[in-house]
Symmetry: D2
Subunit: 426 residues, 4 copies
C-alpha cells in the first residue's frame, strides 16, 4: 500500500507514454540473477529479462566487480569514440571470442548505445553503399522508434506516433505469414518483375525470430533462401539481432545455424551483458564506407558497458553456455506444449526458438490476462504480437531450472485462473 502510494510520483510527473510501470505497478528495489524484489518484500521470477537486455541475468557478480573496479580506477565513464582500454579490450575480445572462431570478418561500429541507433546506422550504410533508397522489411518486424527504424517497423500504433508518412520501406510477408504460400517466391517475383511497382531495394532487413511481432521464428531454410535471393539480386542483407542475438536463441548470433552471412548485423540489448546501454553495428569490411564522423553520437563510448560487455563474452569461450540454453529451451517447450494440449480453451500454439518463446492464443485479450494474473503471483512476463496475443517468455539465459519450473507453475496457475474466470463469466 505504501508502495502503491509511491507510484504516484510516476503518475504525476512522468509522461503518459510510460507503459511497463502500468503493467507491473510496483517499485522494484533489487534484482539478482533471475529474480526481482519490490519495496513490499514481494519476490518475482523474471521471464522478461529487460525485454532481452538481461540475458546474463541481473547484477552478475563478476560484472558488478568489474563495474566497481572500473569506477574506483577513475577510468573514463564517457569517451565518445576516443580510445580507452575498456573499448580496446571489448574490441579485441569480441574479435577473439566471437568473430574469429566463427570465421566472421566484420568491422565494429559503435553507432550510439541503443537498438534504434544500430538499425539507423545499418540502413544508412546500406543506402549509401548501394545508392538506392527502399528497404524490404517484413510483416510484424520491429526495429525501433526513430524515424528511420520506425519506417521499417510494422506495428501500426507505433507507426502512427511518427506523425509523418513513413516511406522508403516495402513490407513483405515474413516466413509462414500466409498459409500454404511461399513468401519468398512472391518477394522474388515482385522484385524481379519490371512492372511490379517494387523498386530494387538497397537492403532486406529482418529479425530471425521476431520478438515484438509475436515470437515468429523464421526457418533456417527460409533465412538461407533470403540470403541467396539477396546475393542473386545484389541486395544487402541486414540482420537485426538486437533481441534474438547474444545467445537468446541458443547461439551467439541467432543466424548461426542457418549458415548465413549477413552484410550488416545490428546488436544491442544484451551486448553490454549488464543491461547498460550499448550497441554495435557489424559491417563487412567492403561495405564499411563511412567517412570519419559521418554517423556519430554522444554516447558511443559507454565504458562501464564496455567493461561488462567484455566480461559477458567469457560465457562464449566454450560451448557450455550454448548447450545449457538448449536444455532449458527443451524444458520450457515440453511444458508449454503441455499447456496447449491440456488447455484447448486457450486455442493456442507454441512459438519460438531457444529461450525466446511464446504461447499465441487466438482468444482476444487472453494472453494479457494471463500475464496480469502471473504478475500477481510473482512472475514478470509480458505479451507481444500485433494484438498482444502472445504470452512472451524471455527469461535470463542463466536462469536456474528451479526458477524455470516455478515460473511455469505460475503460468499454469494463471492460465487456470483466467480460464476459470472465463468459465465463470459464461
Amino acid at each position: 500500500m505504501t508502495n502503491q502510494m509511491d507510484m504516484s510520483v510516476f503518475e504525476n510527473l512522468e509522461s503518459a507514454v510510460r507503459s511497463y510501470s502500468r503493467s507491473f505497478p510496483t517499485i522494484f528495489e533489487k534484482a539478482k540473477g533471475s529474480q526481482l524484489w519490490d519495496g513490499e518484500g514481494n519476490t518475482y521470477i523474471d521471464f522478461f529479462a529487460g525485454a532481452g537486455a538481461l540475458n546474463y541475468g541481473h547484477n552478475n557478480d563478476a560484472m558488478q566487480e568489474k563495474l566497481i573496479d572500473y569506477i574506483k580506477s577513475d577510468g573514463l565513464l564517457h569517451s565518445l569514440d576516443m580510445a580507452t582500454p575498456a573499448r580496446a579490450e571489448f574490441l579485441q575480445k569480441f574479435n577473439d571470442v566471437i568473430l574469429k572462431p566463427r570465421n566472421m570478418d566484420y568491422k565494429v561500429m559503435f553507432p550510439g548505445p541503443t537498438g534504434t541507433n544500430t538499425v539507423e546506422s545499418a540502413l544508412k550504410i546500406a543506402r549509401k553503399v548501394t545508392g538506392r533508397e527502399k528497404v524490404i522489411t517484413f510483416t510484424n518486424a520491429f526495429h525501433g522508434m526513430t524515424i528511420g527504424a520506425l519506417s521499417v517497423t510494422g506495428n501500426s500504433f507505433k507507426r502512427h506516433g511518427a506523425g509523418i508518412p513513413l516511406t522508403y520501406s516495402i513490407a513483405m510477408p515474413f516466413d509462414d505469414y500466409m498459409d500454404g504460400y511461399d513468401s519468398l517466391d512472391y518477394l522474388e517475383k515482385m522484385i524481379q518483375d519490371g512492372g511490379s511497382g517494387i523498386d530494387l531495394p538497397a537492403a532486406v532487413i529482418l529479425e530471425t525470430v521476431q520478438g515484438e511481432g509475436g515470437i515468429n521464428a523464421a526457418s533456417f531454410d527460409w533465412l538461407k533462401r533470403v540470403e541467396e535471393l539477396c546475393r542473386r539480386l545484389d541486395i544487402m542483407l541486414i540482420v537485426d539481432d538486437v533481441q534474438a542475438g547474444c545467445g537468446r536463441t541458443g547461439t551467439f548470433f541467432s543466424f548461426e545455424k542457418a549458415g548465413i552471412s549477413p552484410d550488416v548485423i545490428c546488436m544491442s540489448k544484451s551486448i553490454s551483458g549488464s543491461g547498460l546501454p550499448m550497441a554495435v553495428t557489424l559491417i563487412k569490411p567492403e561495405y564499411d564506407q563511412w567517412g570519419p564522423g559521418e554517423h556519430n553520437g554522444t554516447f558511443r563510448g559507454n565504458n562501464l558497458a564496455f567493461a561488462t560487455a567484455a566480461e559477458a563474452l567469457n560465457h562464449w569461450k566454450t560451448d557450455e553456455f550454448s548447450e545449457a540454453i538448449e536444455q532449458k529451451s527443451e524444458l520450457f517447450l515440453k511444458r508449454l506444449n503441455q499447456f496447449v494440449e491440456e488447455y484447448p480453451e486457450l486455442e493456442a500454439e507454441v512459438r519460438g526458438r531457444g529461450l525466446m518463446l511464446g504461447i499465441a492464443s487466438k482468444k482476444e485479450g487472453l494472453a494479457g490476462q494471463i500475464a496480469e494474473a502471473a504478475f500477481e503471483r510473482g512472475l514478470i512476463i509480458e505479451t507481444s504480437g500485433p494484438d498482444d496475443e502472445v504470452l512472451k517468455m524471455l527469461p535470463p539465459l542463466i536462469i536456474e531450472e528451479e526458477a524455470i519450473v516455478k515460473g511455469l507453475d505460475i503460468i499454469e496457475e494463471s492460465i487456470k485462473a483466467v480460464l476459470g474466470k472465463e468459465e465463470a463469466k459464461v
Copy 2:
C-alpha cells in the same frame, strides 16, 4: 610509442566511422575533474567535456560513491520504464530542484538515453499534436543522426550519410545569419504568405547556442521573438537543450534569461551528471498526448544514470554554481578577446555564452591546426562549424581557475606555433 601501437586495435577492428580517436590519437586511461591521463603518463586539460556530456567533470567523487553504493545494493541496472527508487528519486528531485522553483510545469518523458532519441520524440509529439508534418529548423542546426533528427540538421556531410532525401524540414536563417538582415521578419513573412510555398509547420526547433554549428549564440531578444511568433501562428516551440542545457551557458536551461517557455524541451548529454547515457524530453502537460508505449526503447531506464543525475541536481539548489560559471566565463572571454586582438592574423572573432565559447577564424584550416597543436601540448579541444572553422571550448563547468589559465596558455602557445608555421611557409 607503446601506446601508439595499441591504437592498432581501433584501426584494425573498428569501423572507418571513428573520429575522435583520430583527432586525439592516444589511449586515455584515467580522468578526474577537468583532467585526463593517457597510458604514457601524459596529462591533458579538458576543454571538451565529452562534447558537453561532462559538465560536472569526470568521476565526481559523490557520483562515484552513489554508483558504487547503487551497484552494491543490487539495485536494478536496467528497468525499461518500470518503477524503481532511482527513477522516482530523479523525477521528484528534478521537479523539486529544477521545475518548481522556475515555475515550469512539464511532464518528464524518458525517450531512450541519447540526444537523438529526445529530438525524435519531440518531433513526433509535435507532429502528432498539430497534425502537421513540416518543422522549421535553422542554418547550422545540429540535432542528431537518426533520420528524424538528421532531417532537421544542417550539416551536409552528415545529411549525405542518410542515403535518402531528407524531407519534412524547412531550413531558415538563424539569428544574425545574414548581416543586417532580420531573419525573423523573413521567417514570419514566409510562413504567413499564402503564396510562399512554405507550409504551416508543426514546430520550430532550435538550439539557443548552436554547438556543432559553430558556437552561434542567439540573442535573448531573438529567442523571445521566435516564441512570440510561434504563439501568434500556433506553432509549437521545441528547444533542443541537449548541449546548451545543464548549466552550460550559465543557467540550468539555456533559455532562462530569455524568459521563454518552450512547449517541448530536449535534454541529454550532461543530464546524468556522470556522462552515462540518459535523456529526457520535457513536454507541457497539454501536449503530452502519447498513448502508453507509443514511443519506447530498451534503455529508458538506465538506473546508474538516474542515480548520478539526482546527485548532479545538488549543484542547482542554490545560485552559487550558476554564479561560478559566469565568473569563469568572464575569465575565458577576457583572454579570448585578447587573443583575437593580439593575433590579427587569426582573422577571428569570439563567440558564445557561458562556458560554451569559441574562436571563429576566417583562415581555412587554422582552427583545426590550433586544436592539433593544443593536443600535442596537453589540451583536449575540438573544432566545430560547417568548415570546422571554430575552436570550440566546452570545459567542465567545475573546472578550476588554474586549469582554465593553463588551458588558455596552451591555446596561446598553439596559436603562436601555428601562426609561426604559417609565417615560416610564407
Copy 3:
C-alpha cells in the same frame, strides 16, 4: 525513300524521348476509320487506335462535320472552365445517355485534358477526403507520367525517370498474379494486420484490364471482392478507366458487368471521341469536396473535344454498339486461340476482354518481332507488358469485319515469318 529522308526532321529536332516514330518509322498523312495512309501510298490497318484514344476510329464523318461547324461558328476553342454551350451539351448528354440509364450519380470534374491529369485529381481528392496518404496500387499498373500518377505505376523504367523516390503507394499483386494464390486474401490480411507495416490507405486504384501492363483482365469476381473489401475497410475505390473505358471492353465503363460502383472514375483517351485531348474525373457527390479552383489547369475547356465527345455518345443510345463489340471480340478470340494452338512455338496465351486483347509469348523479344513484321505488312500494332512480351490489339471499336480479318491475316503471316526466321537461325 523520300519519306525516310523526311524522318530526319524528327531525328534532328525532337528529343530522344520519342518512341512511336521509332516503331512505326513513316510519316502518316491520312487516316479514316480503321485505316491509315503514309506519304508513300502505303495503307495500314489500325490495331492500335491511338493506344485506345480512337475507339470510334479516325476522322468519323459526323465528328468532322461537328468540328467544322463549330469552328465556323466562332465558338470558343479554349474556355478553361467557363460556361460554353459545348461544355453544357456534353455534361447534359453524358448525364442523359451514360450516367442516368446506369443509375450512376457522379459529379463530373474536368481535371485537365490527359489521363495523368484525371489520375492525379483522383488521388488528390481521395487523400483529401480520407486524410490518409498511401494508395494501394497493383502489379503492372499504369496510371501516368506525372509524379503522383507515376507513384502508382508499376513499370520500373518509367519509374526510374522520376529521379526521386516514388512513395505513398503500396504495390499489391493483381488478380492472378501468383498462381494458385488469392491476392485479395493477402491484401486484406496485410491491411487489417496491425503489425504488417502496411498503413491504412486512402484508396485502391486499379484498371479492370491492364493495358500497358500486358492486357491482364481482372475477373469480375475479383473486382467485386475488391469493392467489398474497400467498403468493409473504409477505403475509397478508384477505377482508372482511361484505357479500358469508352466501350473498349464491350460496355461503356469497363466495370459494368462486375456490378461495382467505384467512388472515383478516371476517363480520358476516347472520351472526346475524336482523339482530341480531354479527360473527366467522375466523383460520387459525397466525395466532391473540392474548393473552387483547388485543382485547375489551362486546358480544361477544350471545346472541340466537347463537341465530338457529345457526338460520340450517340453510339451509346442503344445496345447495338456494345453488342457489335462483343461480336468482333469473338471473331478476334477465335482466331487468336487458333494461333496459339497452331503455333506452339509461340509459347503463348490469349489475354483480354472485349476489343482489348493480346497474345502473351514467353519467348523473349518475339512479340516485338511480330509487331515489326506486321508493320512491314501494313498493320499498326504495338506490344505491352513489363518485358514487351504481349502483342497488344486495340483496334478501333468501329472496325469492319473485313479489316479485322485482314489484320489477323497479317498477324498470322508475321508469326510465320518470325518463326521461320527463328527456325532459320537454328
Copy 4:
C-alpha cells in the same frame, strides 16, 4: 435570364471544383479576336486571353482555315508521337523561325499537352541528369497541379489539395520579395554553406514574370545573376515560360532581353496559337538524356494544335509583332499609372512587363470587386496573387488600340464604382 437558367447544368452536374464559371457566370457562345459574346447578346472585351493561352486572340482567321483544311484532308487528329506532316512542319518552323535566329540549340520534347506536363518533364530530366532530388523554387511560383509541379508551387490553398506532404522543393525569396534585401545573396549563401540544411539542388525553376503569383516581374539583372549562380554551382536552370512566353512580355521567350540561356524551357498555353492543348519542353542537347518512351503520354500528338502552332509562328518572322506589343504595353502602363495616381484610395502599384500587367492593391478584396464590376460592364478580367490582390491584365497580344482603350475605360468606371460603394459604406 434564359442564360442564367442554363447555368444550372454546371451547378447540377459539374464538380464543385469549377471556378471561372463562378466568376464569369454566363454562357459564352462566340469569340473573335479580343472579344467574346454570350447567349444574351452581351459583348465582352477580353483582358484575360484564356489565362494566357490565347495570345493571338480568339478564332484567328488563318488558323481557322488551317484547322478546317486539316480536318477536311483527313489528316490524323491524334498521333501520339508518331510522325505526321503537321508535327514535322511545326518542328521545322519552330527551328527556323524561333530557335535558329536566336542562336538557340535545343531538342524539342512533346511531354503531353499541358503546362503541368512540361513542368513535370523538366523536373524529371533535371533530376535524372544531376542525380539530385531537391529543386529550388521561388515564393509565389506557380507551376501546375500534378504532384511534381505542385511541389514547386507556392500557393498554400492549391498545395493543400495534394493531401500528401509536398517535398523535394526548397522555397526561396523571389526578386524583390524582401524590401532592401538581396534574395540571391541569401540563396547563394544557403546553397554554399555546408551547414545550412539546404542540399545542393538539381535545378532552379522560375517564371521570369510570375502570373498566378501576382504579376511579379524579375529584373533582367536578377535573372542574369540566377543564371550565373546556377553555372557556378552546377545547378540546372529551368525557365517555366508557360505563361510569360509566346510573346506575352514582348519577346517570344520572356527571358530574351535578360540574355540568359536556360537549360530547360517549359512552354504551353499559347504555343498552339489557337488555344488548343499543346506543350513543348526545350532541352539543351547535352541534357536530353531520356530513353525512348521514358516519359510519354497519350496526347503528345495533337495535330490540330500543331497546325495552328505552325501558323502562329508567322507572327515571329519579323520584329513587327514584338514592337506592337511594346507599344500596346506603353499604352496600358500610361493609363494604369494614371489610375494609381488618381485613385490613391486604391493603395495600389502597377506591376508587370509587356502585356502581362497588374494593379496590386493593398485593400483586401478590392481587386476582386473591381474585376466583378468590370465583368458587369463587359470586360473579362481576373485577379491573381496569394490574396487575389492583383487585378491581372493579360489581353490577347493582337488586341486593337480601340479595345484597349475601351477595356481600360471599363476598369476606370469599375474603380470608381467600387470606390464609390466603399465611400457610400463609410
